[in-house]
Amino acid sequence: MDGWTTLTKTRLETRLALAAGAALAVALLAIPLFGDYVIWLTANMLILALFAVGFNLLFSFTGLLSFGQAAYFAIGGYVCAKILLAVPSLLLGIVGGLLAAGVAALIIGFLCVRHTEIYFAMLTLAFGMMVHSIIWKWRSVTGGDDGLVGVPRAPLEIPGVLSVDMADLDRYYYFVLVLVSLGIYAIWRVVRSPLGLTLQSIRDSESRVTFSGLSVRKYRLIAFTIAGLASGLAGALMVPLGRSASPAIANWTFSAEPVIATLLGGAFTFAGPIVGAFLFYIIKEIVVIFTGYWMMTLGIIVVALVLGFRGGVVSVVQRHLLPLLARRRNDTGERR
């Protein structure tokens, strides 16, 4: 492939990404027109998207497979729930959940980044299940297997600046939309920054990065903490949406959701987990119309993805759809 086509292809790619982004933005802003169920569903999609983008920073851009991301999601969610049950301030709950998850990820990450590959995956799993067992057993604080219920969706208040009531689902939806967008944008900036490039070079060749005098562990820890913050924010946003926190969000099977979303949309791309998160819920909605066996269908999809479509949706678009479009543009160009 010569340089010129590569150039047009990337330009086309950028334009297409911009167009898709704009269309998505309009669609997301218009969602509240479709009623409470669609709002609730889309909010869940957005939260999973943020959760998965955070996971993907670790997986695709740092080369670490974490199987314990549910722990930070749950810490974010439970801390947010406890704050909201005590003080009716949405901002305080969200910020509290975010920070708690970040601190937990910093401490646990410090221990986990000593290993890579299967040992890293097993360590994150062990710490994740530790958090799950605490939530499961510490009944007086966490409600045990009942979880925390009746969490108020408190108003968004900054004294003297603004006060927005959040009882209406569409208002809370816009709040989720803004925070998820900010979170994903922040991770996008990280991926594009020198820090992001360092992470990717660690993924590609750990020893070369070590030779150039950088502390591999330190950068891995930074990535782990950012991923933990994203999970925590996602968890904190989830709790006021359903007005409850359940221990299921701390179990290891929940850690698999961002993994599946990432694979569905496409690993090793930035947009993959976002596309995957939306597809995850869309497929679920379609499947439950026809069968009560959503888990089996999801399992079959996962097996098929691994065996046949490892690149996910985004890479199919990049590899097959874009060259097609680029060729057509070249043809018209020649005719002129």
Partner: protein, 288 residues
Amino acid sequence: MTFDALVYQGLIGVSLAMYLWLLAAGLTIAFGVLGVVNFAHGSLYMLGGYFAFTYYLTLEINFWLSLLLAALSGAAIGSIMERFFLRYIYHLDLAYQILLTFGFVLIFADAARIFWGGIPLIPPMPEVFDSTVRIVGRPFPVYNLFVIFVGIAASALLWLLLDKTSWGETVRASASDREMAGALGVNIPRLFTVVFSFAAMLAAFSGALGTPVRAMTPGIGTSVIIDVFIVTVIGGLGNLPGAFVGALIIGLMKAYGVLLFPDADLFMTYLIMALVLLFRPKGLLGGR
């Protein structure tokens, strides 16, 4: 804790350890030879339990034969998993192997719900075992003694199979150097299918052995697999004697933990797993 409670719970712990040991042995052999981390190993345990339930209670087959048939059914499912699915992903990243086997966790859980429903199932105890013996002045269920006996017998058989037969030699050779074994004429793809279905058989047998005393639910696969991971990590991934020690530690931990620190027993097992990974990643019996 009094002396009789100490002995009693100790025996309970050892019988718990035997289920874990059979499971962990399968996971360890599959990991050692194929290099695959099978998240569906716990689900094969669950299927083994359900199969035994159906053979024994619904089809009214003799208890011993039910155990055997359940184990063989697990082996059949394992061979299908390896031959038609796992075989195509050995060259891929660890993440894809984990995901593929996780796909099977989901499929098996719903399949169990379709065929056996969501209610926990426990068949009645076979009459031979429906009694107790007095140990240190307390009635101890005969079935738990039977489980301990089966576990030890299985260890002996496993050791004979892997250490004293030529098949075992082939398996060990392939575990230590797959390419060299292949170059020396070992049919590696076929060996992989056989080893994986053997591992699946051990899991299914463990589940079948547990049916009269441990309730089967469609969700049990996801909780059992975590216990098995803890056991194999403590022993060192791919280390068979280590897995036995790991199973004993976790079995005893669970039995005594219920009495000593009922609120922290789960936490403690995960803590041991994390500590071993941090300080002895190759396991308690492995080198540094």
